[in-house]
Amino acid sequence: MSFLSVVIVNNFVFTKFLGTCPYLGVSGRIDTAFGMGLAVTFVTALSGILTWLVDAYILVPLGLTITRYICYIIIIAGAVQLVEMYVKKFFPPLYKSFGIFLPLISTNCVILGICLFINIWGTNNLLEVAVLSTGAGIGFTVAICIMAAIRENMAMIDIPESLKGAPITLITAGLLTLAFMGFTGMIR
């Protein structure tokens, strides 16, 4: 249930405004959007679990919570590095098509955001953490693919000159948010 909650009802892009920068940049075509979403899902799943483990078993017992943000960043950078090496080794064409995006994911708001929100929500079992972090990544993928599909079609219509590009994307995102609000109350 928390999976559906995080993917649809509390979607990280639409309700928490995270991941807006790559959202605006990458959502031009469905295949790049899907690839980006997949990479983000891997990294969120991995970092969500790792950061929670480090926080619960190292930082809190040793009273080092003041270094929390620094540790999170190190773990996320490490997770991105891992995913990058894995993709480079086993899926070279996919790696080529990512280009600059993969290292840039480490500064993506969604990843640090989900780690922080898991911490704020006080989740206290590993399975729920895993579900929440994978779900957040999948929610981002869903959001970015919907956006890419809409943008592919928008390329063929008449948009005023000053609204082309980011402005119309943001307005469309706003209407999508409205649509997703219809899901509230779906999960008690």
């Binding site: 639409f14 309700t15 928490k16 405004f17 995270l18 991941g19 807006t20 920068c21 605006l24 003041i66 270094t67 929390r68 943000y69 620094i70 960043i73 190190i74 950078a77 290292p103 480490s106 500064t107 993506n108 708001c109 990843i111 640090l112 955001g113 922080l116 929100f117 704020i120 005023p160 000159e161 000053s162 609204l163 590009g165 980011a166 402005p167 119309i168 994307t169 943001l170 307005i171 995102a173 706003g174 209407l175 948010t177 409205l178 609000m181």
Partner: protein, 205 residues
């Protein structure tokens, strides 16, 4: 140590670039997460803007001081670590001295760490220029960002509740635009403002 025949460094340009010409929110389109998230009212927006100025200036200075020691492939992680330190300081300060604001801003203060503006300015400016230029650039971009936040927050707050900084501005018969409180209002308003900004730039050229 004289600068010899080096080109005259444009300090004033570094300061004013961030205000309009390279305004992070309206021109460069980076750091878009906070403008959408914290602009429901002017006070949180102002707090966020001031925090970003603090972190941006401090991290620009520190990164500029260590720019000659950075290995290329370790850049991003070193930027992130220095930024994380200053954000931790900022977060603790807010929690201690402005707990109400800290509650409202919630997780968005630590999210300043991955705010694209700071990393972008570190990459584009601080890692290549001396301390003074980086310092002024930090102030300029931070102020530009804060102004953008306040414009957005001002419009949203006035339309959503008729108040500006808790001071009643609209007449009592005004029906509040609830949509401005919700994510919809944020996205659509941001889109329209960006459209306006590109219209203004197009007219200037």
């Amino acid at each position: 140590m004289a600068d010899g025949n080096a080109a005259k460094i444009d300090y004033f340009g570094a300061l004013t670039a961030g205000l309009w010409r390279e305004n992070p929110t309206f021109r460069l389109l980076i750091g878009m997460c906070p403008p959408l998230a914290v602009t429901t009212a002017v006070k949180p927006a102002l707090t966020m803007g001031l925090s970003v100025i603090f972190v941006l200036v401090c991290s620009n200075v520190v990164i500029s001081l260590m720019r000659n020691l950075l290995k290329p492939h370790l850049r991003i992680i070193m930027f992130c670590l220095s930024i994380a330190t200053f954000v931790t300081i900022c977060d603790l300060y807010l929690r201690a001295f402005a707990p109400a604001m800290s509650e409202i801003l919630g997780a968005y203060v630590p999210l300043i760490i991955v705010n694209c503006i700071i990393i972008f300015r570190a990459e584009a400016c601080a890692s290549k220029n001396n301390v003074w230029v980086s310092f002024l650039d930090g102030i300029g971009s931070g102020t530009g960002f804060t102004i953008a936040l306040c414009i957005l927050a001002g419009i949203r707050e006035i339309l959503a509740s008729g108040k500006f900084c808790d001071y009643q501005v609209m007449p009592h018969g005004f029906v509040p635009w609830a949509a401005m409180q919700m994510p919809v209002g944020a996205f659509v308003l941001m889109g329209l403002l960006l459209g306006l900004a590109s219209l203004i730039t197009a007219k200037k050229d």
